[in-house]
Symmetry: D2
Amino acid sequence: MDVFTRLESEVRGYCRGWPTVFTTARGSTLRDENGRDFLDFFAGAGTLNYGHNDPALKQRLLDYLAADNIVHSLDMHTAAKRRFLERFDEIVLKPRGLDYKVQFPGPAGNHAVEAALKLARKYTGRETVVSFTNAFHGMTLGALAVTGNSMKRTGAGVPLGHGVTMPYDNYLDGRTPDFLLFETMLDDSGSGLDKPAAVIVETVQGEGGVNVASAEWLRGLAGVCERHGILLIVDDVQMGCGRTGAFFSFEDAGITPDIVCLSKSLSGFGLPFAITLMRRDLDVWEPGEHNGTFRGFNPAFVTAAGALEDHWADDGMAERTLAKGGLVRRALDEIALRHAGEIADVRGRGLVWGMETRDPRTASRICAEAFGRGLLMETSGPNDEVVKLLPPLTTTEDELARGLAILADSVAAVQAAGPKETGPKETGAAGARAAGGPGGAGAQAGPGARAAVHA
Amino acid sequence: MDVFTRLESEVRGYCRGWPTVFTTARGSTLRDENGRDFLDFFAGAGTLNYGHNDPALKQRLLDYLAADNIVHSLDMHTAAKRRFLERFDEIVLKPRGLDYKVQFPGPAGNHAVEAALKLARKYTGRETVVSFTNAFHGMTLGALAVTGNSMKRTGAGVPLGHGVTMPYDNYLDGRTPDFLLFETMLDDSGSGLDKPAAVIVETVQGEGGVNVASAEWLRGLAGVCERHGILLIVDDVQMGCGRTGAFFSFEDAGITPDIVCLSKSLSGFGLPFAITLMRRDLDVWEPGEHNGTFRGFNPAFVTAAGALEDHWADDGMAERTLAKGGLVRRALDEIALRHAGEIADVRGRGLVWGMETRDPRTASRICAEAFGRGLLMETSGPNDEVVKLLPPLTTTEDELARGLAILADSVAAVQAAGPKETGPKETGAAGARAAGGPGGAGAQAGPGARAAVHA
Amino acid sequence: MDVFTRLESEVRGYCRGWPTVFTTARGSTLRDENGRDFLDFFAGAGTLNYGHNDPALKQRLLDYLAADNIVHSLDMHTAAKRRFLERFDEIVLKPRGLDYKVQFPGPAGNHAVEAALKLARKYTGRETVVSFTNAFHGMTLGALAVTGNSMKRTGAGVPLGHGVTMPYDNYLDGRTPDFLLFETMLDDSGSGLDKPAAVIVETVQGEGGVNVASAEWLRGLAGVCERHGILLIVDDVQMGCGRTGAFFSFEDAGITPDIVCLSKSLSGFGLPFAITLMRRDLDVWEPGEHNGTFRGFNPAFVTAAGALEDHWADDGMAERTLAKGGLVRRALDEIALRHAGEIADVRGRGLVWGMETRDPRTASRICAEAFGRGLLMETSGPNDEVVKLLPPLTTTEDELARGLAILADSVAAVQAAGPKETGPKETGAAGARAAGGPGGAGAQAGPGARAAVHA
Amino acid sequence: MDVFTRLESEVRGYCRGWPTVFTTARGSTLRDENGRDFLDFFAGAGTLNYGHNDPALKQRLLDYLAADNIVHSLDMHTAAKRRFLERFDEIVLKPRGLDYKVQFPGPAGNHAVEAALKLARKYTGRETVVSFTNAFHGMTLGALAVTGNSMKRTGAGVPLGHGVTMPYDNYLDGRTPDFLLFETMLDDSGSGLDKPAAVIVETVQGEGGVNVASAEWLRGLAGVCERHGILLIVDDVQMGCGRTGAFFSFEDAGITPDIVCLSKSLSGFGLPFAITLMRRDLDVWEPGEHNGTFRGFNPAFVTAAGALEDHWADDGMAERTLAKGGLVRRALDEIALRHAGEIADVRGRGLVWGMETRDPRTASRICAEAFGRGLLMETSGPNDEVVKLLPPLTTTEDELARGLAILADSVAAVQAAGPKETGPKETGAAGARAAGGPGGAGAQAGPGARAAVHA
């Protein structure tokens, strides 16, 4: 692995917690170059909801490529794009009564976010965007300004402006009424809160520690936005495409965001692809006002259309996800009960689950034990204190059971080993996030964090 | 095409100038759904330097996918990534004596730019980045702040800070010595120029109007940076990967940037892919300090490694590009001579060429005529006044000759039709850029441009 | 008064609520050019704590000027400055065990604030400053960024950055524990709160509506700052110099701020004068790093030293202020009891008192009635809903009784007249603040508030 | 002088170069507590155009104060304010055909600038303000953002935005046509120059090194502004009130700014006072949108009106200033001729003159020598390389001759002493600006300048 150390930037992360070289993958299994198989409870951080190399999607992709269909086309019209738009309209939008227009803002989730923020600011003529504690919306400068993690924020190298942070659901443990501060400030012309263009929210904060907003809280938020003429942006990059059960994670709450960001599992095959959905009347873009080279990647149109056809023609996927989620919850609850000294909380929705450890280092140790036993899981949360389970939605019940058993063993092994004296720096092979996730341990930017590394 | 109008955002651009639906593509030819072929002098805005669906790369891609090799892997180690790193080192870096480390900052060129800007600011502890008039570095907020186009900038919806603009080579028609203003301000502690972290520059400004920096000017710039301890970032997203002849566009000038951004043709096949190269000692990133979902897209590693093996093992590609460039230049000079009333200037390098028209609307009319004759070209420049030629480097001499003949006919047709009274709004089927490129006509942000679209 | 209308900018404010021309003043009485006397419960918005034209201070000033002593001296050493420093040290600092250094940052309170913010940022190397809902710190760009009022903020014409707003004491009516949000966010590296350089706070928010922070809350705030290494700045511009009883308004709470801003009554005579006090070890300024033409105004040194000698040699001033405050409180409580349908709350400390009306327009009507009866009072609060009493500390008990009787009559008259249908625009001669104070009615910046007034 | 060292912040400046304690002053003479007299070629940095303690103005002031006329009145109407407005209209505005409205923005020059910037941004709905290399507009955050000096800028502790710097007249030694860059960028929608709200300019840059803009250049600038719909703000804080001859420094150029800032010598007596003048139709302020405690300081109204009556009723002041300026110029030219090895340039206008030294340290040594001989002068320019002469306009020809003789002796003494090896730190008693002026030696902010002083 010398070549990685010698040539790849120190910024690399996941490879530090999972020190092997992967070669092939299928469904919920990855194989490394030593022929060892790993069960995948990570799913490309939510990018592989239908597993690795879904055969039907793969066939569509191979057929498309083999026939010399067009691959790269910016925002020219192509047959593949038309088919995607038609399928998305028929299978996703129309059945849900959603009258959105679709923007192709670039291939990544942060492009969907950057476009959403621009549009909200342009439409309203305002600048402030409200985001929430422990939000994660991406690393480009606009998206980073509405992201909570201090290590990431410090990485910007410039102050991040035009954003205001409000407490997420249950952030203060129910010790203050929801939206009391936010709405009081909105109603008070002396509050110092410049009237926001938009609120951007994740219904479940995956990177932030698997924090789950209740349906009631989401409805409350939508109500605040409506009463004050603020646009509501749901960043469904990680939680959309069925992760929580329904296609959109906000469906259960019965709300209709003004703008929606989708990416990750949208292509269904791990291909870079993102869209920004906007209420029809918000589409005030000038032609070309936001552009980008890879905003028309036809292989992604093909697999994305295929994924909708294969997985979302009926409610089966959603129902199975919820059923599997129940299975996961029960297993986690049992582990938490057995190891109450280590595990502080279990929370999740659909097939995203978090198990918060009392000592932040425990979560990384559990993930490291699991890796040793052939299971990939990452940590999340501001102190990497949450073991995060994000299996492909297509993971079989047997696989889930197998993975959960490994997890139980891993927790038991960590408990048996007792508390470690080592600080976070020495946890070597620990969970990927300890070193490279969105918020490494000790991420709090100390005094002088902005100082020069070199003079 | 109703589905596009009904469902795709108004932000769509190229499709307006090229009103058809494309299906397949091979080499330098695209075919639409009516079976009509178009010769491609656009090349995905520089993404398809080796043409559409290069058969050898396609085979590699099909083989990789068919064997269930891993597709999506964030920044885990994979065999495909290793192979890419090794090939890049052997074929690109070592022969050129470049000791860079490689960051995978996300799939798009603007990710490479955002990462470069962050790193430069972190390393130096400074905030200001100097860019140039008519620069184009991308649409995410950090990249947009160093981009010149006023329509794009206004789209940000917030003021763009931490940047200072200096005149590009020949911006003032030689009426002022190069870098006189820049270096005087750097030397003057009262100049108001906060000491910059970095300078970011394109060696040829493609979107900005095919403005070509001379080797002497580039060397001068590198000297200013060195004397003042400012990092030099070359954004080689569009001009790298052989567009100007050599693999990097800065090689001819004999300079070594501190940071280099690559994307577009890097995958060789139109797949979303980008890297940021940094001088080894600049690699002060913390693990995970900059991350992103699609920063490990294995199919792109595969085709990128293949493209290097196939096209860059020797100097043939560079030599052929320069030879073809000479052919283009001669043809354009001839056209300019014949139509001196319409054509103001011909400029370019390698296989990027621009033909500036005296009346900005003429360029769009020429591109529209060319489209009607089966040739795809876009306009560029702040007023879309430049016809831009960006054929695949693998375009044959016959194809070049055919395309240039169409271009000549198109110019002649526009001249014959005489000046049009119509303003830019009515030019309907005109060149793609007139409606959707980086700077539509009338892009100058007028008074009140920041005002709300809706109350 | 034509000359004012014709020549003075529309920005003029107080003159709209008090439509007469004043000529002379003495103690707590102003006289207009018609020879009519007005009792002053306004005191130059807190600038005239010792009344108008205090005879002893006046004599010192006349003597100083008559003898051709130096008037203007920037930050040269002068005998007058030395005397002020000595007196300030002996009478104010030493007896309170305060080891502050003194900066002369310019003649106005906002200069004291701007210098405090700069110093806090320089010392800590951080940028964010936390301020509170309904804070008022001044109109220059740095001070405005930590001010709450939306009309004032919009006046900046640029986004105001580097600030975060937290709820002031009792802002949420006790429905959430003090500092729960603030400290939770400080402790959470994912909260999105960039570690602050400083907190800036008024112990009583005069402009914000006479909101009184409890001693407990202030101690809690000081504790948060200490635990997190954040500097505590008390803006004592309006509440210092004895307004709340003790010389500094924070003394009663038993806290020691890191930085203190003083101005308004500091000169004791209405002369422009301000100082910034800083903990000795915070004095990291470079010579001349912050400067300004009027940072050495000797007549103000003279009257300021005199005011300390005359009024602060013992505890008499503080004791009398508290006694008079009790008198005011009893009278206001009585009015509130009698007019419970109009008056919602009475609050204050020392000799700053507010009477909040249920209908915001009532406060302005009361002030207008009072003006008609010869009493000057302004409104405050985000909706001008608070009648604010700020009499000179030297107002006699008889004068206080007389003014409070006028106030009682005014409230009765407004109640008798019944609710008015007129909106705020038509209240003509209403309280000064309705038109010109720091937050006029309807100050909430609506959508598009940033839009151009003229193209 | 222990008290100063012990109690006054390290930010103090002028006192370091002039290490004595001043007591009285009259006309162009200051006296220290040892009874030593100093001739004043500094004039409070331009605040004392009519000398210290002008007897006629003093009498007005004493009379006003003695009669208990109102001193402090915010923006209430007072008889003193009316008289000032009438006199200003009759003596200054009407004879010059200027139809300005008058704002009282606060007592300091930076208040006049902050108000001007706010108004320009509000009126135009744009944010960018163009300023010039080596501009000095003040230390509050808005004014500082358009100030050039790097040491001052770094003192802000936050990045300074919304400003663009253009080269001042002759900045590039005539090697580039005036406004070529500026106007090319304005005309080019791809230039990256966001359309400015305003240009702010000093006709002579006093702090920046006595850089004199030619009338032709000023007219050119006014033309650029007019053609592009940009407001022109002249900051006449230091150069107004007759410093260059005419009352306004821009009169000679025949231009009419849209907004004018006045302060310093406006009160005529060293009292803190400032106004912002605006073209009548620009007065789009809301009542109270910009406020401040000391925006109505009646003693300053009184002396300001008196100064206009006494000094500006006819052209005598302007004529005498120009005559005296000629006298100074001749003397300086002679010195420069005699000491061509030390003196690089002599420049100025009216009664502001600069003598640039070849070695920056020479200027401070000359000022130190002059101080020893009883003459006060400061240095200016980014490296304190310019000896700056700013005598009161009322200085007699005899006094001028005496001061110029001292200056000649001082230069000769410095030349005789030969080059000093000492660095700037050791020049102890050198010119005031070396330690405390707007730009001390070594002001260039090095790498990491933003870093924390203390953790």
